[in-house]
Amino acid sequence: MVKIGIMSFAHLHADSYAACVQAIPEASLAAIWDDNARRGRAKAKELETPFIGNLDKFLASDLDAVIVTSENTKHRGLVEAAAAAGKWVLCEKPLAPTLEDARAMVSACRKAGVGLGTAFPCRYALPIVEAKAKLDSGEFGEVYAVSCTNHGKAPGGWFADDELSGGGATMDHTVHVVDLLRWMLDREFTRVYCELGNQLHQKTLKTDDLGSLHLEMKGGVQVGHLASWSRPDCYPTWGDVTLEFICEGGVINVDAFNQKVTLYDGKAGRVNWVPWGDDANLALIRDFVEAVREKREPTIDGVDGLHATAVTLAAYESFRSGAAVKL
C-alpha cells in the first residue's frame, strides 16, 4: 500500500487528486497537512483522514509520498521539505513561478533521491493520446503549424494574486499546452512572443486574464496559443484544451475534454456540459502511485515542469520587453 499525503488544499485540483488516491486500491490517502488549519481540518473530516497541522510531524510520519497543491509560490518550500524527508513528490502545475524555484526543486529531489512529478494530466486525456498516436504514425507527415487554446473561468482568490500565483491566466493556462506539444512533437520551444491583457473582469484581478502567444519550436513549427480566464460564469463547462495541427498530409483537431452530454437543468435554470470521458487525473495519479512503488521518476517529471515554466516565463518577459524572446 502506497501511503500518500496531501499538502494544502489551496488548489482546487487537490479535491480531484484526493478522490483519485482513494479510488486506487494500491494507494491510501494517509494524512493531510495544510497551512490553513481550518481548511485542512474540514477536508480531513470530509475525506476521513488524519489532519497533521505540524509540517515536521506530517513529514516525519510513515508517508511514502506527497501531493503538493498549495499556492504556486509555496511549491518550492514544501517540495524541498518533502524531498528532505525522503518522500516522493507530485507537484501541481505550474511547477514554480520562477526558474530559480523550479531548478531548486528539481535538484533538491535529485539530491534526496526521490522522484518529482509535475501534474500535467492532459497528457492522459484519451483524445490527446489518440492525436499523439496519429502524429507518431507518420501518416500525416510533418507538422507545420499548431493553434492551441486553454480557456477557463476566472478561479479568483490567490490565483489572481501575483504574490501567490506568480502570474495570471497565462501562467495558469500555458504550461499544459507547452507540455503537451513538447511531448507530442518531441521537440523543444525556441522562441516566444506574447500579448497580455487584464480586461475581462472589470480590472478586479491583479494579474493578466488573457494571453495571446506566438511560439516557435525546433524545426520552425509555428505555434499560436491562447491562454485565458475568458469563460463567463454561465458557460456550460469549466473551459477547454484544444489543438489544431496543420500537417503535410492533413489537419488534426483535438478538443481534449469534449466528451460530454448537454444537460438542460430546469431546476437550476442553466445549461451544463457534463463530462463522461475517462478521468485523466486518475491516470496521472495511477502513474504516480506506480512510480512510488517502483522507486522511479513519475512519467511526467520535474524537468518537464521546469521546461513548461521556462516557456511561460519567457512569454511574460516578451510582453514586458515588447519583443519576441529566444529560449
Binding site: 507545420y144 512572443y193 500579448e195 491583457g197 480586461q199 472589470q202 463567463p232
Partner: protein, 324 residues
C-alpha cells in the same frame, strides 16, 4: 446605369448578379480568358471582350467592377477613373499600400466614386454581433478571436498560388477580418504575425496574428488555406460580463448527396438570407453614387486593411512585432 465586369471568375459572376438584382444592366464582360468572358457575357446578354483595359473605356459603361487578380487592381482603377467611370473594386484594394494610394488619388482627381468590397461589414451575423456588443450584453469587449478559411483557392498555376501576387491567406482572406476589426473596434496599435506560406511539398498557408488595438483590446486572428476541404468562419468575443460565439459550421441547412459521380461527396452548408450581403454592399455603393448616403466602406478603409496585412507579412518576415 450600365456595368462592365472586369475579371469573369467566380467573384465577377457574383457581382454581375448583384448589380443586375439592383436593376443595373451588364453591358460588358471582359477577361483575358476568352471563354470566361464569353460565358458570363452570354448569361447577362452583354458584350464579351478580351482586354479589360480596353473595356474600361467602353462608351456604354457607367460603373466598372474590378474582380481581376489583386496586382492588376491599381492600373485598372486608374484607367477607369481617367475614363470617368465609378468603380467597384473587390478586396484586397491593392497588393501594396503604395498601389492603394495611387488608386485613391486617381479617383479623387477624376471625381468618381470608388468602393472597396469589404463585404463582411454587411454580413448579417457580423452585424448581429456588433448589435449585441453595442447593447452592452457582454459588457466591455476585451478580446476577440476570429477564424476564417479552408481549402487553398485556385487550381495549380492560378495567381492565388503565387504569394507574390496574392499575398497568401493573410492579404487575400484575413483582410476581411482585419477590416472588420477596424470597423467594430477602431485602429490597431501593433501586431505580431506568423505565416506558413509553404509551396513544397504541398502548397498551404496558415496565418496566425495577434493585434493590440488602440482601445486596449487584443485580437487573435487565424486565416487558413491549409485545410483539405471546406470553408469555415468562427468568431468569439469575450467581454467583461459575457461572451458571443459564431460558427458557420452550425448552419441551419445542409445537403449531402449519397454519391457523386466524380467521387466522394461534399456537404454544402448554407445560411440563407433574403438579401445577400453582397447585394447590400451594392445598394450601399449605389446610394453613394446617387448622392443619397455615405457608404459603409470608404477607399481609405481599403487602404488601411492592406496596410495592416502588409504589416502582418512584415512581422512574419522579421519574426518580431510591428507598430502601426
Amino acid at each position: 446605369m450600365n456595368v462592365a465586369i472586369l475579371g469573369c471568375g467566380g467573384m465577377g459572376r457574383l457581382h454581375a448578379q448583384m448589380a443586375s438584382n439592383c436593376g443595373l444592366r451588364i453591358t460588358v464582360c471582359a477577361d483575358k480568358v476568352a471563354a470566361a468572358a464569353t460565358a458570363l457575357a452570354k448569361d447577362f446578354d452583354a458584350k464579351a471582350m478580351n482586354d479589360p483595359m480596353a473595356a474600361v473605356k467602353a462608351k456604354n459603361v457607367d460603373i466598372v467592377v474590378i474582380t481581376t487578380p489583386t496586382p492588376t487592381h491599381k492600373n485598372l482603377v486608374k484607367a477607369a477613373a481617367a475614363a470617368g467611370k465609378h468603380i467597384f473594386c473587390e478586396k484586397p484594394f491593392g497588393r501594396t499600400v503604395a498601389e492603394c494610394k495611387q488608386s485613391i488619388a486617381a479617383a479623387e482627381k477624376a471625381g468618381v466614386k470608388l468602393f472597396v468590397g469589404h463585404v463582411v461589414r454587411y454580413f448579417q451575423e457580423f452585424e448581429e454581433m456588433r448589435r449585441q456588443m453595442e447593447s452592452g450584453a457582454i459588457g466591455k469587449p476585451g478580446w476577440i478571436k476570429m477564424f476564417r478559411g479552408g481549402i487553398f483557392p485556385g487550381t495549380p498555376g492560378s495567381w492565388f498560388r503565387d504569394y507574390a501576387q496574392s499575398g497568401g491567406v493573410t492579404l487575400d482572406s484575413m483582410i476581411h477580418d482585419l477590416d472588420w476589426l477596424r470597423y467594430a473596434f477602431g485602429e490597431p496599435e501593433r501586431l505580431f504575425c506568423q505565416a506558413l506560406r509553404r509551396k513544397e511539398p504541398v502548397q498551404l498557408d496558415y496565418s496566425q496574428v495577434t493585434l493590440r488595438m488602440e482601445n486596449g483590446m487584443i485580437a487573435t486572428v487565424i486565416g487558413t488555406w491549409a485545410h483539405p476541404t471546406g470553408f469555415r468562419v468562427k468568431v468569439e468575443i469575450c467581454g467583461e460580463s459575457g461572451m458571443i460565439e459564431f460558427d458557420s459550421n452550425e448552419a441551419p441547412f445542409s445537403a449531402q448527396a449519397r454519391e457523386a459521380a466524380a467521387g466522394p461527396s461534399m456537404i454544402v452548408p448554407s445560411n440563407p438570407v433574403s438579401v445577400s450581403p453582397y447585394q447590400l454592399e451594392w445598394e450601399d455603393f449605389l446610394g453613394w453614387i446617387r448622392g443619397e448616403s455615405m457608404p459603409r466602406v470608404c477607399p481609405e478603409d481599403g487602404l488601411r486593411a492592406v496596410m495592416i496585412a502588409e504589416a502582418a507579412l512584415k512581422s512574419a518576415r522579421l519574426r518580431q512585432p510591428v507598430n502601426l
